[in-house]
């Protein structure tokens, strides 16, 4: 590529399957580089925050690497940010997980345990998406399309920030967004063609050079 290193960055804080996310972007013709360097993230034109694991530990790792501030400042500058799974939950103000912990606070709201009485937790598997409002991230996604989830907690966004929901015991936030700050509770990188479409939609919001 002539444009130099890719400007879409996948934030690495030591938790989660970053390689699958990078490969999924590559599959839709978008170069995305994994980075834990605060300076690189501070210059990114798009940031993906993946993650698997526990919320408090994730915030500690983000703090230890000093990448929370650059992510927040890029978000404030209007750069698209996409949280995936735990990464989406981290965008909110706080989580009740393991006694409570502050999040990045890029979206108002909290993260609470999924209320699914009588059902197994974590919620693992494919669930139908219900589109709640139009958004660039879900362009071309049909109402009812299934996506792949692995989670025990769910975010409680402000009503206007809810883009799509899904159901497991209760109806919960599956896609959230306010302007350039976006998140999916499911794993788009494991949700086949529809998931890849969503990653392509996100990439299109950034100025990352496309290769296809």
């Amino acid at each position: 590529m002539s444009a130099g290193p890719p400007q879409l960055k996948i934030a690495d804080y030591g938790m989660g399957n970053l390689r699958s996310v990078a490969k999924a972007f590559e599959h839709v013709g978008v170069q995305a580089a994994v980075s834990s360097d605060p300076a690189e993230l501070a210059a990114a034109e798009g940031i993906v925050l993946p993650g698997v694991g526990a919320f408090p530990e994730a915030m500690r790792e983000i703090g230890r690497r000093g990448i929370g501030e650059p992510i927040a400042s890029r978000a404030a500058a209007g750069v698209p940010v996409l949280g995936i799974c735990l990464g989406m939950q981290l965008l909110f103000e706080s989580s009740a997980e393991h006694g409570g912990s502050s999040g990045l606070g890029l979206l108002p709201g909290t993260v609470e345990p999924l209320r699914a009485p009588g059902l197994k937790l974590p919620h693992i598997g494919w669930a139908h998406l219900r589109l709640e409002r139009e958004a660039g991230l879900t362009a071309g996604i049909r109402d009812g399309e299934p996506f792949y989830f692995v989670h025990s907690f769910a975010a409680h966004p402000e009503p206007g920030d809810l883009i799509a929901s899904a159901e497991y015991g209760e109806r919960f936030a599956a896609v959230v967004g306010r302007g350039n700050v976006l998140g999916t509770q499911f794993h788009p990188e494991k949700s086949s063609a529809a998931g890849l479409r969503m990653l392509a939609n996100f990439a299109a919001m950034t100025t990352a050079p496309a290769t296809a």
């Binding site: 390689r19 598997g125 669930a127 086949s192």
Partner: protein
Amino acid sequence: MPLKRLIPCLDVDAGRVVKGTNFVDIRDAGDPVELAARYDAEGADELVFLDITASHEDRDTIVQLARRTADEVFIPFTIGGGIRSVADAQAVLDAGADKVGVNSAALARPELIGELAEVFGSQCVVVAIDARRVSGPEPVWDVYVAGGRRRVEGREAVAWAIEAAERGAGEILLTSMDRDGTEDGYDLELTRAVADAVPIPVIASGGVGTLDHLAAGIVEGGADAVLAASIFHYGRHSIAAAKQAMRAAGIDVR
């Protein structure tokens, strides 16, 4: 409830699919990744790779398989066969696998299940059980290893499934050795016995010959997911037709 899952299984030996395929438009029918990508495109919900390579020297081969699969396949996939330690699991999960399957190593040292669950979370740990019906009036199943060749002393399949779940397994991949390869359908009594006994999802395996067998595994067997190999590899049935048959049986599928 999560949607019921259809899971094609690929038996892999030294990096190649063992059972042949009849897909005329597949460049290399022996390449597990090419076949896996096709199953993803056709609507498979998940994939299982079972590495049946006998030798230990081929550990790198399976990590390479996980890596190459993660490059081309964008649905969850499990790698089983030869996972004996946290380090073995770490290697394939880092390479892009979503779950690991353990069988004989967990029987030899059941603590392995808890160790894997502790490090990676239960959702990453699939305990595979190969069961064979004991002749007699009572429904009892022995546990086998080594591809069904060796019975494990003192293990009964339903009890072992319960113990595996208690130790932290996230799913049970339950294969009937009586039915495997027969195309007579799943051992529904076995599937039901385990599904009713454990609080975690059960994947029915072994014996699928027709599309009706898939629905039966869920409706009658109580399985959360159904696995099949040869009916898809040989091109006799497409994933789409299988999904359609499951839908027609009233099952909510993707």
